[in-house]
């Protein structure tokens, strides 16, 4: 199946700096795609270009197999990081207004909205003004407004900020369900934990350049640098002594009862098999595992690397 979104060699200049420099990304349908990067990296500019709010200086954006046009925005839903709704407008009226902007008829919008409001348990807010709601409540309304027209492509910029853990979880489930129903999701965040949880692929942008792209699991393997972990009972000093020739770094966790966990970075050419054999002699092994790099580490490492190259 074709990619739902192809950004090909997009550049955008503002006076004084390059917001985007030859950025390309491809997003397969039905996935959650992480768009990561430090503050001011150019993510918002890229999102605005995808939303057809601003035009790129060069490069093209293909949506669903054709060049992105103004009409495609009805197939896109965008939840910006900085939330906002009309304060003086009633919740229901406002939601209908935004739904109609996306091309829904008034009747369709009303029935769909009622369903979502029921689902989120906020039906009695219909006639309230936004200014009467708390921040979190308004965010729920905004989420509904974003997804109501069942867009093919959803762009969430920090969707969980401002939500308590219960509501954040509710939102996560809804996002995953939207994905399962066929929507493609671009997920922009600084919360790397949630990237590991829900993204299948990511692109990392820094200073307007695409510095890392790939599948989340593959990246986490690649960046693990041959690290593995051993859970054992016995004397950790003896174990580390035995493993000294094979590993350059040791990270020993605090013991949990009799068990203790040791993380080690294997030198190249060292086989896991030999590690297990050596460890088995020194202690009683309980568990052996490969350590995946956290997205947090990958983020920091990659960004720092490119900064040093400059």
């Amino acid at each position: 199946m074709d990619n739902i979104l192809e950004v090909i060699g997009v550049s955008k200049h503002y006076t004084g700096h390059k917001a985007l420099d030859d950025v390309s990304i491809s997003i397969a349908p039905g996935t959650v795609y992480g768009l990561l990067g430090p503050n001011g990296a150019g993510k918002t500019t890229l999102i605005r270009i995808i939303n057809h709010i601003t035009a790129p200086d060069s490069g093209t954006v293909m949506f669903d197999g054709h060049t992105l046009t103004a009409d495609d925005v009805s197939q896109i839903g965008y939840l910006p990081e900085e939330r906002g709704l009309y304060k003086k407008m009633k919740v229901g009226e406002q939601a209908i207004f935004f739904a109609r902007l996306k091309g829904l008829s008034k009747a369709d919008a009303t029935t769909q909205l009622k369903r979502w409001f029921d689902k989120f348990g906020i039906s009695d807010w219909w006639d309230k003004k936004i200014e009467e709601l708390s921040k979190g409540m308004a965010q729920k309304v905004q989420f509904i407004v974003t997804v109501l027209h069942r867009p093919k492509l959803l762009i969430f910029d920090e969707p969980f900020s401002g939500f308590d853990p219960i509501n954040a979880n509710l939102l996560k489930q809804e996002i995953l369900q939207l994905r399962d129903e066929g929507s493609t999701i671009i997920f922009s965040t600084h919360n790397m934990g949630s990237v590991e949880e829900i993204c299948s692929d990511i692109t990392l942008i820094n200073k307007g350049k695409n510095i890392l792209t790939g599948n989340v699991d593959e990246l986490r393997h690649r960046f693990s640098d041959g690290r593995c972990s051993l859970t054992f009972t016995g004397d950790p000093r003896l174990l580390m002594e035995r493993l000294q020739p094979m590993s350059s770094e040791f990270f020993l966790d605090e013991p949990k009862g009799a068990e203790q966990r040791l993380e080690l970075k294997l030198a190249p050419e060292v086989k896991l098999r030999d590690v297990i054999a050596a460890a088995n002699e020194a202690t009683d092994l309980i568990e052996v595992g490969r350590v995946m790099a956290s997205m947090n580490d990958i983020f920091i490492k990659t960004v720092k690397q490119t900064e040093n190259n400059d």
Binding site: T15, R48, N51, I53, T54, A70, D71, V73, S74, I76, Y78, P80, E82, R83, G84, L85, Y86, K87, K88, M89, F97, F98, R100, L101, K102, Q142, V145, T146
Partner: protein
Amino acid sequence: MANNISLVIRREFLERVKKKSFIITTILMPVFMLAMMAAPALIMMVTGSEERGITVIDETGTIGARLQSDKETHFTLLESTPLDSALADTEVAGVLYIPAGIMDGKVSPRLYTNGSSSIALENNVSSQIDGIIEEERLKQYDIENLDKILEEVHSDVKLMSIRNDKEDGESQSASAAVSYLIGIILTFLLYMCLLLYGQMVMTSIIEEKNNRVLEIVVSSVKPTHLMLGKICGIGLVAVTQILIWGVLIAAMSAFVLPAIIPDTALTEMSALNAGTLDATSASMDVEILQAMSLMSNVGYILQLFGLLILFLIGGFLLYAAIYAAIGSAVDNIQDASQLQSFVIFPIIIGIIFGMTAASDASSPAAIWTSFIPFTSPMVMMARVPSGIPMWEIGLSLAILYASFLLMVWIAAKIYRVGIFMYGKKPSIKDLIRWARYK
């Protein structure tokens, strides 16, 4: 996409028209204006003005006794009191000293006041003294039947000013005073609308930018369309308000006025319009008759409001575009104040020229400023009641509408860039640079 503009217009319009404040101002404004006009008279009626006591020291012996006291001024003649001792009494409002040589016109009377004087008082005193002196001097000629002669000689013309260059059959007679009044009212109405509704466009854009709702809206509507929608929506609110007032006044002139104007006045009004009225025999002042005749002419009122709306639309779109550009460029109202002078300044110049144009519609300044788009709406509306050629109105409208198209085009370019700029307070230089972006 065009559908989205109409959605934005609808939202902007309904949000404002449904507000209580709109309904209240629409109803209260005419009441308020009537009250403003009636207020001075009412206040006079209720409070009355305090009687001023004036002590008169008269060395001529003839004038002092003949000064007429009225509700406001009470003259007390003090016989054989020197001026100095009269001046010692500071309880009275003033002391009028009439020197002996006044009959020969060699010396002037003097009014010593305790506290402030007033123009009315001074006029009253000098005109009374003038009258008495003139009478005395006439008497010295010893003319027989002087009073009768004077009465026959006395003249008080009532000038009827009728437009000669009007093409339409019914020549609407409007005196300069009546045109002046209507012109001033129309100019002020337009001035208020431009300022209030223009600022509404600006604050609404700043608010959208501030609470970031803009980001969502522009993901569905092109920024330019959003700006146009907003300007049109708010413009419609202004037009609606003027329409309501127009209909109210037209209804009043069609149904209420004929019912309350006395029959004699009605026949006199029709005589006035036919040009056969004999002003000296009229039961009331000709200018009041003319004003009433204009007010009860529904066609005339509708024509005035029609033009008012045309100029309102043109002027509003022109100014709203500038307001929109300013609103898009700043983050909050405080930052806007400096840039706002670019709008307020021409509007104020407009109202100043409008006021002079109301008093003389064919002065060169009035004619020129009624073609310059920034001042033309206000100046033209001030000139219209005086009856000016249609081609002037047409040309002025054409220039105005062409310039608003240009201004909207420039404003859209600034708006497009400005709405995404946060932080730094932009200068006029920045705005010009943004307008040049491709």
